[in-house]
């Protein structure tokens, strides 16, 4: 057959077979039958050598044109088919997005830890350091150095847990407050002192919905050359607003602690009812929540660690971590904190 005629026939038939290809595979086959070995175009290419030299340029030129045209048509069809195939794959891939098939395990930090970290961070932001100390402690650090006389009722075996260890006069006990760490810190550091102390404390308590024999406190201490009562008030107001929310107001109420003078209890405005809603589930209608004990450091405490109470002054405060968390998260039974029920732990 005339090679030119063969090329023209191939070109005119190509469009149809390319369009007929319904998949990339079919298109590949069509390509092979249009341009591959044994195809009419292929035969022309193969026969080029046997052509009369005068025909060669003309046939060669046409061969290239036809090949490129067919290739163009195939490429066009290929893009269209790829689009179609991708579209159908997306349809096939469709899943129920609401079904939870895979998951990452949810671990958690204990609410006590989260609360401590949050409290500590607020004070770190004010330039405080964080200290810890022994839970088995000497009577001197837990009581005497904190201006608590030997006859104070809190030292009775009915209130404090003593350990069967060491010399009797050392009174080795489980600390009843984090305050002994204040004393140890001041013994080891020169003023100014800005420190908070989170940790476990122990009391001889019967376990019930509001008492545990072991709970957590965060203690705070600031001692400097010009600390005044207003600094205590402002610091705790700042803390309360950070912890309970910016509209929180606070009040200090006179109280008594052996290691502070003047002493106070801090009440924060109820965040649930915004003050005085009768029968409020959080504050019971009082409008205030009793939150922590505090005061100006008693001069005897400063003296006990070798600080000069005539030139230095300070404030201290101590808050119950469980209480903070219970109030803020609506927890009605303190035993939840030590049951370690996963269904409780994973709520926070």
């Amino acid at each position: 057959m005339n090679p030119i005629k063969a090329l023209e026939d191939a070109l005119s038939g190509a469009a149809l077979s390319i369009e007929a290809a319904g998949s990339i595979d079919e298109l590949d086959r069509a390509e092979s039958s249009l341009l591959g070995k044994g195809s009419p175009v292929g035969e022309v290419r193969r026969g080029m050598g046997g052509l009369d030299p005068s025909e060669r340029p003309q046939v060669g030129a046409r061969l290239n044109e036809v090949t490129e045209s067919i290739q163009g048509l195939i490429a066009q069809r290929r893009v269209a088919l790829e689009l179609l195939e991708e579209r159908s794959r997306l349809t096939d891939d469709r899943i129920d997005v609401t079904m939870e098939s895979l998951g990452f395990p949810n671990g958690s930090l204990h609410l006590i830890q989260q609360t401590i970290d949050e409290v500590v961070d607020i004070f770190v932001g004010l330039g405080y350091r964080v200290a810890d100390g022994p839970e088995a402690e000497l009577g001197w650090y837990n009581f005497d150095a904190l201006n608590t006389p030997p006859t104070h009722p809190s030292r009775l075996e009915s209130d404090t847990v003593y350990l069967d260890y060491g010399a009797t006069e050392d009174e080795v006990l489980l600390r009843t407050q984090t305050s002994p760490v204040q004393v140890r810190w001041m013994e080891q550091h020169q003023p100014p002192v800005y420190v908070v102390v989170p940790g476990k404390v122990y009391r001889k308590e019967t376990t019930d919905a509001t008492h545990l024999p072991v709970f957590h406190q965060v203690e705070g201490l600031a001692v400097d050359s010009s600390i005044r009562f207003s600094d205590l008030k402002g610091t705790l107001a700042h803390f309360s607003q950070e912890f309970f929310g910016p509209t929180t107001t606070v009040r200090l109420r006179p109280h008594f602690f052996p290691f502070t003078e003047p002493s106070a209890e801090l009440d924060v405005s109820c965040f649930a009812c915004d003050g005085g809603e009768p029968g409020c589930r959080i504050c019971g209608g009082a409008g205030w929540l009793e939150m922590l004990g505090c005061g100006m450091v008693d001069p005897n405490v400063l003296e006990a660690v070798g600080y000069d109470p005539a030139t230095l002054s300070g404030f201290a405060f101590g808050m119950g971590v469980e209480r903070l968390a219970m109030v803020r998260h609506g927890i009605n039974d303190i035993r939840h904190f030590v049951d370690n029920d996963l269904r409780f732990l994973s709520q926070f």
């Binding site: 098939s101 990452f104 395990p105 405080y128 001069p299 370690n340 269904r343």
Partner: protein, 794 residues
């Protein structure tokens, strides 16, 4: 302490009676209001009347016809009670009145005779249970007066929390003084006049223990008639939460509530002999107290003796033998003052906390004793009759004098200032009953009723308290060098990482049960024991965090959990000297985990890993990676409680820091935990210690050369050794090596494992050629061979 408002108003003219406003004032002066009750009469329209005449009922013999004047002429009332006669003052419910329980009183006719109201009993008024007769009023109250006035209703009773440093505030007078100072109004003590007769007390007192008894005062009241207290006394006491006993005993409580000084009334005729001796008891002596209990005394108990033996426990409770009884005619009224710790210990020792002991253990003012005694004697005469000889007993054991404290105004301003002027400070202290002299410093004479005030700091507190804590500014000092330490930051990172892989942080009680130790096979010898545990469960401090975590897993399993992953950080205790302070026991901070069930990323709700030894090792490597620890190494070990074939001891840079592995199946069974449990316990200190600052090396841009080697290694040898040996032999070019297959069975000799490792070599500065890789590979094979690992197929 319960404070009835209308009684308090006898001591102070309050500018308001609004309970809310008063609560705020109590709070701000330091006597926190725990709550208040508003009391209303349980009746309406009950007035005072006088029975003018009593006549028999024409048609009934159990009831009588009375003419009663309620201030508007006689009215006829039928009454069934017989405990009154003509002239009696009574409470009359007028027609239209409603009594307690909703009983409505109307005009009615009883057996043909008209009755215009009702004469009331206590029960009908809701004032008590007495229904034996009608209520006959004391004295001659004005006819027609509202009966509720006589029992001071309506009223408000405040429940105050009095801090333990304030003996003086456990009284209406003390409360009035504080409130007056805060509100700027005066306070007073309502007068009681005592008329005496010639003569003196016939009983002597000998204070042998002068430290224990600061002062003993006594007055005799002769010829009293014991009976019921009048209505107003009973109802004031009732509002204050004190039960009425008899007129004489009620007086002791009444005056105590007014002045804060406890009193005790003896039946003077029951005292054997004429001498009372105050001294410590002999061990084993017995004394029956007023509550009917027989107390076995110790040598620390302070007791009042008569000739027959102990007759009263000082400051806590009187003895039954000399108790005032209905037949008492002569009374010895005691107002004595006791050493606070003596009373505190004694009342706790005997489990006997009374109104008296709670005051004495705070430190009752000895200089108040005679005034209280005088007032009580006057009131006894008023309520029970009798005469009081002018000579009274007053023996001093330990004198307590007012102290003078110097206070510089600058000191006030240094602590609570600025801005306090001399006169403001002086004025506040004077309002509290202190005497102030001098300009600056102020010389302040502190009355003995304020034993809590002995130093300038105590005066500063008084100034702040009365000035009002709410009036101070809020300022914030800024610390200078705050922040977390490296250890604290690393602990947070560690905790977050463990939570991040799916472990919940637990907080367990730091005690351990003996059964826990037995189950885990832990030694008991070094346990730190509690001397005075409340419960046996709280008798031993934990030497390990593992038991607490296992108990928590058991608890969760018992509640239906199938997979439980917990970790805890906290102190463990051992009874040997601490490095921190040799007087203290060792207490080290540890990290532990315990994991049961499935774990890890979940597919259809189930973790893709199972808790077991290998999981524990993986977690340890994760901990090492998170904390940047390069020196962690494991070696097989058999610590107590662990699976003997799946446990390792951990070293960090050569220092032993704990154990990791799997719980012994026997122990798991004992804790009722199904399946395997991954456990570990590590010392936190070395884990958290600061590490060097890592220095960067830029990742190579050249391609790697990978090859696999499969070794046959004895199952008794550690694969870790194979890895470290071959990596070391490979030198600097080794980028990574990891095991991708471990196989035993067909083709592998018995007792061997086939371990296939993929090594990756890479150079920082060039593409490695085959000629470079081959000798490295060969060196690895030879090194492995030297330790007994043959190349498989070689």
């Amino acid at each position: 302490m319960k404070v009835p408002l209308r009684w308090l108003q006898e001591f102070i003219e309050l500018p308001t009676t609004d309970p809310g406003e008063l609560s705020l004032a109590f709070d701000m002066v330091g006597h926190k209001v725990e709550g208040f009750d508003t009391l209303q009469p349980a009746w309406t329209d009950v007035v005072v009347g006088r029975v003018e005449t009593i006549d028999a009922h024409p048609d009934a013999d159990k009831i009588r016809v009375c003419q009663v004047d309620t201030g508007r002429g006689p009215e006829q009332i039928i009454c069934g009670a017989w405990n009154f006669s003509e002239g009696a003052h009574v409470a009359v419910a007028r027609p239209g009145a409603v009594l307690a329980g909703g009983l409505e009183i109307g005009q009615r006719t009883i057996r043909g005779v008209e009755s215009n109201g009702m004469i009331c009993s206590e029960k009908e008024l809701g004032l008590g249970e007495d229904h034996s007769g009608i209520l006959v009023l004391d004295g001659e109250p004005e006819l027609g007066r509202e009966f509720s006035d006589l029992v001071e209703l309506p009223d408000v009773v405040f429940e105050l929390e009095i801090t333990p440093n304030r003996p003086d505030a456990m009284s209406l007078h003390g409360i009035a003084r504080d409130l007056g100072a805060y509100l700027g109004v005066d306070h007073t003590i309502p007068e009681r006049v005592l008329l005496t007769v010639p003569g003196s007390v016939e009983i002597e007192v000998d204070i042998e223990d002068r430290q224990g008894c600061r002062r003993f005062t006594g007055r005799e009241i002769r010829g009293v008639t014991i009976g019921r207290s009048p209505l107003w006394v009973r109802h004031r006491l009732a509002k204050a939460g004190v039960r009425s006993i008899s007129n004489v005993v009620d007086v002791t409580n009444y005056v105590m509530l007014e002045l804060g000084h406890p009193l005790h009334a003896f039946d003077a005729d029951s005292i054997v002999g004429s001498r009372l001796v105050v001294k410590r008891a002999a061990v084993g002596e017995e004394l029956e107290t007023l509550d009917g209990e027989t107390r076995v005394l110790t040598e620390e108990d302070l007791v009042i003796y008569d000739d027959e033996g102990p007759t009263s426990m000082s400051g806590t409770m009187g003895g039954a033998r000399s108790e005032v009884s209905p037949s008492t005619t002569n009374v010895l009224m005691e107002a004595a003052s006791w050493d606070p710790p003596t009373i505190m210990y004694m009342s706790r020792r005997h489990g006997l906390r009374s109104e008296a002991s709670t005051r004495f253990e705070r430190g009752v003012d000895p200089n108040l004793a005679d005034a209280a005694n005088h007032r009580a004697a006057a009131m006894v005469v008023e309520l029970a009759g009798g005469t009081v000889p002018e000579g009274s007993l007053d023996v001093i054991g330990t004198r307590v004098d007012p102290v003078t404290v110097e206070l510089a105004v600058s000191e006030v301003n240094r602590i609570i200032g600025p801005g306090f002027a001399r006169d403001e400070v002086g004025g506040i202290l004077e309002r509290l009953g202190m005497t102030v002299e001098g300009e600056d410093p102020l010389r302040v004479l502190v009355p003995t009723y304020r034993p809590d005030v002995t130093r300038p700091a105590d005066l500063v507190e008084e100034v702040a308290r009365i000035h009002g804590y709410d009036k101070f500014d809020s300022t914030v000092p800024i610390g200078q060098t705050g922040g977390l330490t490296t250890e604290q930051r690393r602990l947070r990172r560690l905790q977050s990482a463990l939570a991040g892989v799916g472990i919940h942080q637990a907080v367990t009680l730091p005690f351990v049960g003996e059964d826990d130790l037995v189950r885990l096979g832990m030694p008991i010898g070094d346990l730190l024991q509690v001397k005075n545990p409340l419960r046996d469960e709280e008798g031993r401090l934990r030497p390990s965090l593992i038991p607490g975590l296992l108990n928590a897993i058991r608890f969760n399993v018992s509640r239906g959990a199938e997979s439980v992953a917990l970790f805890e950080t906290g102190l463990v205790f051992v009874a040997r000297p601490s490095t921190l302070d040799p007087r203290l026991p060792e207490q080290a901070e540890r990290l532990s985990w315990a994991i049961a069930g499935s774990f890890g990323p979940e597919s259809l709700g189930v973790g893709i890993m199972e808790a077991d030894g290998p999981l524990s090792f993986a977690l340890l490597r994760h901990v090492g990676a998170v904390l940047g620890l390069t020196g962690l190494s494991l070696s097989p070990a058999t610590p107590p409680g662990y699976h003997p074939g799946r446990a390792a001891s951990i070293e960090l840079d050569g220092q032993a820091i704990g154990h990791v592995g799997e719980l012994s199946p026997t122990v798991a069974r004992a804790y009722e935990i199904p399946g395997r449990v991954a456990i570990a316990e590590l010392d936190l200190g070395p884990l958290l210690a600061p590490i060097g600052t890592p220095q960067a090396s830029s990742p190579s841009v050249f391609p790697p050369a990978d090859f696999d080697l499969s070794f046959l290694i004895d199952t008794g040898s550690a694969v870790a050794d194979l890895m470290s040996t071959t990596i070391a032999a490979g030198g600097d070019l080794v980028e990574s090596a990891h095991i991708f297959d471990v196989f035993t069975g067909a083709g592998v000799p018995d007792g061997d494992r086939a371990v296939a490792v993929r090594y990756r070599l890479r150079a920082a500065d060039r593409t490695l050629t085959n000629e470079e890789v081959a000798p490295v590979r060969q060196a690895m094979i030879e090194a492995a061979s030297a330790m007994g690992a043959r190349l498989r197929g070689a």
